[in-house]
Symmetry: C2
Subunit: 418 residues, 2 copies
């Protein structure tokens, strides 16, 4: 190996040529020696969010008080319109409200009601909370949740879903990018399959929005949900978004009828009269402070451009896969993500029997990764602030920890792992 | 009238003798010349909340990043336990999650499922969003919402509800303090009536929590919901709370099955297995920043003491009723709240055919009140920061505006009134 081939040198060269490098300055980096590879769980704090929140709290709440509602009532739809172009949606098709699981409940129940069918199809790589929600919706309607057993690395393929489809199916609901493997599902092909059987297609974009280009309209998707606190950097538990294709909006009815979904909320009419458009998919008073934190994170993604973000993510995860082949596979790691860059999203998953203790060891050494039962370590790359050298150094450290069995020094459990 | 009888002088004396006067310093008062009588809609910003939120954003999110979840996962139950003593509940019976309307949906649906009945009873003074939610729940189960027609000032009386009860009724769900009249319903008597017919009783405490003593356990109440942004000063749209009596917790199942309600959320089990206790009434990732703002507001209420708050509220609203008799009734106002202090909560409602323009006129003159269709002006007193002289001055101004018809100078509509 020549010096030029040395992976650390290559990583430095990639950083030097990175057109997104300057975006790191948009984020608070409190501990520069930490390597934060968990932006796919919680995105970093954008610097501009600090002043937005200070203004929201001290000026809008503190000084403006109730009169600030004139502005706040617009936030759910306005913030949705900021997200729309990042996911291939049109203005008026996205609203920010409630949490992802609640939004999924609303839309899944709406699809069951609209189709008059009671079966929902998903797959066993979908996020557990999604499966819980949809199982509950299907059972409540007297139906069932059909769960495709799919390859844990490659994620759901059209044939996996096709095998479960029939005319009882109300809804096919999958994650676009798998929370574990980062495998990207074929949104257009699977949506078309669902439509062929008269079912609707709902996509969870929690690991997609801000990480990979999403084409909701072009793919024919009917419904979508997603969180704002991962690649959109909206803050811990920030309210989620939901998408309803405009042609469906007047034909779908969600089951939680609150005043923020009413056509004239301050008229205080005795009966619920759903607002036209996307608004009747909202329910109650939004958590304004958390909601305010969403727009600045989305704005940075829009400024950098989702195509540029995607291009850098491919380079980052490809470097990780190369380092996996060279350093990690030889010391007992498996690859839990697709090998082809275009088939994976914004993280790479490593598999190891001691993944729990290795992830913990990495964290106490300043390499913040996360663990997923039973054997997965996720290395999230957030192109807006992750450097190539960070990815290289994290891989080297994990290789050393595994090679020398340093995890043996740690007990088998720790209080909480998130 | 002697000088000592002059209401302004009396108000000054009441302020001088007020044991809660110093609590005003706990709150941001950006415009001291504003008279803010809308704390029953949005409570003021506690000064200590500014530093709590700064720490939550800059330290916990910015520096701690994903590792702060070790603390954040505890917040919903811990914040619930702070609220519990204010509403007569025990530790482990209250959790802070989602918005009031979503919590109401969960608990109403749980009651319908548990009783196997499909009728819900409420009254026509209950908050419109509550009625929309419960009508939706009842209809989805094939039942109906029965709405008692009650006196708009006195609110629902036991006899009003008794007339609608039979063995089809799953749930009686009312507001404890009416959003419009501030009338206090007889929680113990109405709950007992519900139980006599095998129905459950759910109370909306949005206008009660932090304003009047609530005795959920002693009254026999089964379920409750409430918001945290009015008299608890938790900030705009701050997440709501819900209460489930401990003896019911294992027997009730709410319909939105998310990972924050799972017994072992990070085990990522394929099926939903509800957590024991109050936790399975939560759903998804909470909006951490907004959630963080709840505890400081609750703490101030606890420090001042709910009995002391109630005593001052009675003096404040009694002063308003006296001023109504002397100055407001003669110029065309009606009283939209109960005349007896012990029968009303933390606000007094004035009725006037020109309520809309009068409330607007008051606002632009720095007297922040709110309007409720078609003819109501609510004057909210928040004993932690409302002065007796503010109440007196507001009444004088409204009297002058009405006497001279100053509202005629304003157009009949303005963009948004909240």
């Amino acid at each position: 190996m020549t010096v030029a081939d040395d992976p650390r040198t290559r990583a430095e060269a990639l950083d030097a040529a990175d057109p997104l490098a300057r975006y790191r300055d948009e984020f608070v980096v409190a501990h520069d020696w930490h390597i934060y590879l968990d932006g796919n769980s919680l995105g970093r704090l954008p610097g501009r969010t600090i002043s937005v929140l200070r203004d929201a709290v001290e000026q809008e709440w503190g000084a403006g008080l109730v009169q600030s509602w004139d502005r706040w009532v617009e936030l759910p739809a306005a913030t949705g319109d900021l997200i729309a172009p990042l996911i291939g949606a049109r203005p008026g098709e996205v609203i920010v409200c409630d949490q992802t699981s609640v939004n999924l409940y609303k839309l899944a129940a709406a699809a069951v009601a609209a189709t008059g069918r009671t079966t929902i199809v998903t797959d066993d790589t979908n996020f557990p909370s999604d499966r819980y929600v949809m199982d509950g919706v299907a059972r409540a309607a007297g139906g069932t949740l059909r769960v495709a057993q799919v390859d844990q690395v490659d994620g759901p393929q059209p044939a996996d879903i096709a095998a479960l489809l029939d005319d009882d199916v109300a809804l096919v609901a999958l994650s676009h990018v798998g929370y574990r493997s980062a495998a990207i599902a074929d949104m257009a092909a699977i949506t078309a399959l669902a439509h062929r059987h008269g079912a609707m297609a709902l996509w969870d974009l929690s690991h997609s929005a801000g990480a990979v280009p999403v084409e909701l309209e072009a793919s024919g998707a009917d419904l979508a949900v997603g969180c704002t606190y991962k690649h959109l950097n909206g803050g811990p538990g920030a309210p989620a978004f939901l998408y309803v294709r405009s042609s469906h909006q007047e034909n779908l009815s969600q089951p939680i009828h609150g005043w923020f979904g009413h056509d004239d909320m301050f008229a205080f009419e005795p009966s619920y009269r759903p607002a036209p458009g996307i608004a009747h998919f909202a329910v109650g008073t939004p958590p304004v402070v958390s909601l305010h934190a969403v727009a600045p994170g989305v704005a940075i993604v829009a400024e950098a451009g989702i195509q540029a973000i995607r291009a850098k993510a491919n380079l980052l995860t490809s470097l990780l896969v190369e380092l996996f082949d060279e350093f990690l596979a030889p010391v007992g790691f498996g690859l839990g993500s697709p090998r082809e860059a275009e088939r994976r999203g914004g993280h790479v998953t490593l598999l190891h029997p001691e993944a729990f203790r290795l992830s913990w060891l990495a964290r106490v050494n300043g390499v913040i990764v996360d663990f997923r039962v039973p054997d997965a370590i996720r290395l999230g790359v957030a192109p807006l602030y992750t450097r190539f050298v960070e990815v290289a150094d994290a891989a080297f450290k994990l290789a050393v920890f595994a090679k020398h069995g340093l995890w043996r020094g740690l007990p088998a459990e720790r209080p909480t792992v998130t």
